[in-house]
Subunit: 146 residues, 2 copies
């Protein structure tokens, strides 16, 4: 459902948001190399994908020593759907699951009435969930994977 690029980006954004809360990292740029290393991701792939997030205004970037990226908004203001929109686009939430051109209640496919509901619930989840929600889970659960 999410592309590999999008999965990586969401993980990284959650990681950045969480780190940026700590005193040591507040308002500091975090190097992409460090993020990739800490999360076990490819530096090349991650920095490429980050370029979109920077352009979209979700991240601020800075070159040179002590450079890196940092969030432009507080975790409570960055929703998962914002990241998905930038990296994958939102076609998934508009398109027919059977691949028809149009998707609407007026022009439904044979399983539209069932799928549209599920799809909206997913959309709802991505719209409601912010990086802060994810961070809270990090604090809440012990053996959580970041």
């Amino acid at each position: 459902m999410l592309s590999a690029a999008c999965r990586d980006s969401i993980r990284a954004m959650i990681y950045i948001a969480n780190l940026s809360k700590k005193e040591r990292y507040k308002n500091r740029f975090i190097s992409i190399y460090k993020i990739a290393r800490d999360l076990g991701l490819s530096f090349y792939f991650l920095s490429k994908n980050f370029q979109k997030l920077v352009k979209a205004g979700l991240l601020e970037s800075h070159r040179g020593p002590h450079g890196g990226v940092k969030p432009l908004k507080p975790p409570s203001k960055i929703r998962l759907i914002d990241i998905v929109t930038v990296i994958d686009g939102i076609d998934f939430f508009n398109n027919c699951i059977l691949g028809f051109e149009e998707c609407s209640d007026e022009n439904p496919c044979t399983i539209h009435n069932l799928w549209a509901d599920k799809r909206n619930q997913i959309l709802n989840m991505f719209e409601k969930t912010t990086l802060e929600d994810a961070i809270k889970n990090i604090e809440r659960f012990e053996n959580i994977k970041v």
Copy 2:
């Protein structure tokens, strides 16, 4: 979410199931060429994908004049999940949305608690929905796309 192969296959299976109910087609083989033409799909791609459904026992095939495919079960006994399982596999319903190796309540990622629920609802839909349900919608709605 569904691959192109899977989307095509589901559409074709619904079409076959619906056609097989009609007196003229009862217990007859329906040519793959006709199915592809009627649904606007590629004959090559569809016949390739059908091979899996035949092997899996969802379709019976027959070569030569008046050959083709026909369902091996009544529409009420073929669930969407059966087709998805054969064509795409069920990894989607087991895997972590953020790409982690494991996915379980005991070893969750930062959004597992939110996603697992949605994912199960989708699974539920695919498990509960049969070809008969889709056919009923064909009868129920006027401008429906098959």
